[in-house]
């Protein structure tokens, strides 16, 4: 090629790719879908082990998971630009498209969540449990595919670290699911072991998310696409809102709750609230900062270089 690599030129600084049209609706969906999956997984695990007091928790958890799955489906249809054709999503299955994979993941998850909820409501708890297990397994897809969806685009901030993005999304789904399960147990169960177990799981999930986000930031810097996560407005929001208030603070509180028995409930309440808000904010920042990164030709060209 003609010129050796130096500063990469751009075409009058104009974008080289188009940003997605996804905004807060899709950010909310990614959060809601992950949360639904996380709650379903948490309460099903508790019920499988027949933890005392887990019956109420799993019933409320299943109701929430089902409601969130329906809400998520509505959000996705609202986001279509030709809503009346939503059913065209079911014309084909395309394994190269996470949008297609996700359609079936959501439908499967919603179906099993519905059957599990109804079965438990009418007292067929064994069927409820079996269907809950199916829902939980589809939940693993629900928690992860949204990261594939973003990673399979050309948007530099989404595509630069596909695996770590999925680790962050899945960990956040389980962390928010554990936070919700922790709150539910505080509300409807007399067993103090339940919120503690969910809180500790939440702490572990947040820790994994933190490590993965630090690792992905290192990749972003190396590839040259980290600027939108550092500059205004996403930089401060990401550091203060997501990393500190949304991950580190609840992580510390969940751990401390093990040592301050009197204040455990307060710690669990605050930590779970923070973890839930942090999960939503993380998705919103990744989504919107990603759109900003697609508008920066220097980022895209730097991402689209040959690497050994």
């Amino acid at each position: 090629m003609a010129t050796p690599a130096g500063k990469i030129p751009t075409y009058y600084g104009r974008p080289a790719i188009k940003p997605s049209l996804y905004g807060w609706i899709v950010a909310l969906y990614i959060f809601v879908g992950g949360l639904a999956a996380g709650v379903q997984i948490m309460v099903t695990a508790a019920e499988l082990l027949a933890i005392p007091g887990s019956g109420n928790v799993s019933f409320v958890g299943r109701a929430i998971a089902l409601a969130l799955a329906i809400f998520g489906g509505i959000l996705l249809i609202i986001d279509l630009h030709t809503k009346s054709r939503f059913y065209n999503m079911l014309r084909i299955f395309r394994p190269t498209s996470p949008m297609s994979i996700g359609t079936y993941a959501l439908i499967g998850f919603g179906f099993w969540s519905l059957v599990a909820f109804i079965a438990q409501a009418v007292g067929a708890s064994l069927i409820g449990l079996v269907c809950g297990c199916f829902a939980a397994v589809t939940g693993w897809w629900m928690a992860s595919y949204t990261a594939s969806l973003l990673a399979a685009t050309a948007t530099p901030l989404w595509a630069a670290a596909p695996k770590l993005l999925a680790v962050r999304f899945a960990a956040s789904a389980l962390a928010t699911g554990a936070a919700a399960a922790c709150l539910i147990s505080l509300g409807v169960s007399a067993n103090p072991g339940l919120p503690r177990a969910f809180g500790n799981l939440g702490a572990l999930a947040l820790f994994i998310q933190l490590v993965a986000s630090i690792g992905s930031a290192a990749i972003y810097r190396k590839v040259g696409v980290n600027d939108p996560l550092q500059g205004w407005p996403w930089g401060p929001l990401y550091i203060a809102g997501v990393q500190l208030a949304g991950i580190l603070a609840p992580l510390v509180l969940y751990v401390l709750a093990n040592f301050f028995h009197g204040a455990g409930t307060t710690f669990w309440l605050i930590a779970s609230g923070l973890a839930l808000c942090g999960g939503l904010l993380m998705r919103a920042v990744v989504l919107l900062a990603g759109n900003a990164s697609a508008r920066r030709p220097e980022d895209y060209f730097s991402f689209a270089q040959e690497r050994g």
């Binding site: 003609a2 188009k18 940003p19 695990a45 928690a143 685009t153 999925a166 060209f301």
Partner: protein, 299 residues
């Protein structure tokens, strides 16, 4: 240009209808289903007349947009979009990166590089691989087209395209892009842009033949001293990278791709699906296992 032997046989200037296989006369190629067609755009021949943009808008009945000046060059089109399927880029080499303002560019090029950009009709088309409804499909001419009666406007193809081509129209809520004149190919007509190009910068033809022609052109330019000429998007060249086998619309460039707003190493997004799915699901499984562990401690 040679005159096709068929041409003198039909001297009428007013025709009763379509000339059968008209493309044979205008582009020297017969259009048949099952073969691969594309564009070879030789940017060294482009004079920036925008006849291709006009012909495309006319034929496809695309509405006007951006009725303002961009203020950056003679490029007031700006970019490809839902309603603009050809876009002539104007690269003005004013300083060529040298602080004293002197030029490195040979004077015959008048300090301009121009390129008519278009959908690349990628082989492994990321937009098509992203489309969940099957609206985007591969035609019998091996081109990539959106079926307007199926698209539901999910918009996923928009960020999936590594060249920023396909776009959603806010008028009808569907995705639109160049069809490589699918309707014209069906009746043996050369695509409108190529037919209207006065310098033959845009050449329509069968892909294998275009590749040969393009390689000959590069060799001839090298012979004439233009050593910076190279192909972008032909097999094994920049642009045909990262899981994209080749681009059905490929280019002859004389500067690095980014100068023309093209990525030098675009990649196929579908290759990132499985690694990220596995990483995510593995994380979810590990954490589910950990949940069992924490719950067991309460017993």
């Amino acid at each position: 240009m040679t005159i096709h032997p068929r041409a003198p046989k039909d001297p009428r200037s007013i025709l009763p209808g379509l000339i059968p296989d008209e493309s044979e006369l205008t582009a020297g190629v017969k259009i048949e289903a099952g073969r691969q067609y594309g564009f070879f755009t030789d940017t060294t021949l482009c004079i920036g007349c925008k006849a291709c943009e006009v012909a495309c808008k006319e034929w496809n009945a695309l509405p006007a947009e951006n009725l303002t000046l961009t203020g950056m060059s003679y490029d007031n089109t700006g970019a490809l979009s839902a309603n603009t399927w050809r876009h002539v880029a104007f690269v003005e080499k004013v300083r060529d990166g040298k602080a004293d303002g002197t030029m490195l560019m040979p004077p015959f090029q008048s300090h301009w590089k121009m390129m008519s950009d278009v959908c690349k009709h990628c082989d492994n088309a990321p937009c098509q691989e992203a489309c969940p409804t099957g609206a985007l499909f591969r035609t019998e001419f091996d081109t990539v087209v959106v079926q307007q009666d199926i698209c539901n406007g999910c918009g996923y193809c928009v960020p999936a395209c590594p060249f920023g081509v396909i776009d959603l129209s806010h008028f009808d809520g569907k995705a639109h892009k160049c069809t490589l004149c699918y309707d014209r190919l069906k009746v043996g007509l050369e695509p409108a842009c190529a037919k209207s190009c006065p310098t033959n910068s845009i050449q329509f033809g069968e892909l294998s033949e275009l590749h040969e022609r393009a390689n000959r052109r590069v060799a001839s330019l090298h012979d004439q001293g233009a050593h910076d000429a190279y192909l972008y998007g032909a097999p094994e060249t920049p642009g045909a990278t990262g899981g994209l086998n080749h681009l059905h619309a490929f280019f002859l460039l004389t500067d690095r791709p980014e100068v023309y707003n093209l990525p030098s190493h675009p990649s196929r997004g579908a290759n990132r699906v499985l690694p990220s799915l596995i990483a995510g699901i593995a994380t979810a499984i590990v954490l589910t296992g950990a949940a069992f562990g924490f719950l067991l401690t309460t017993l």
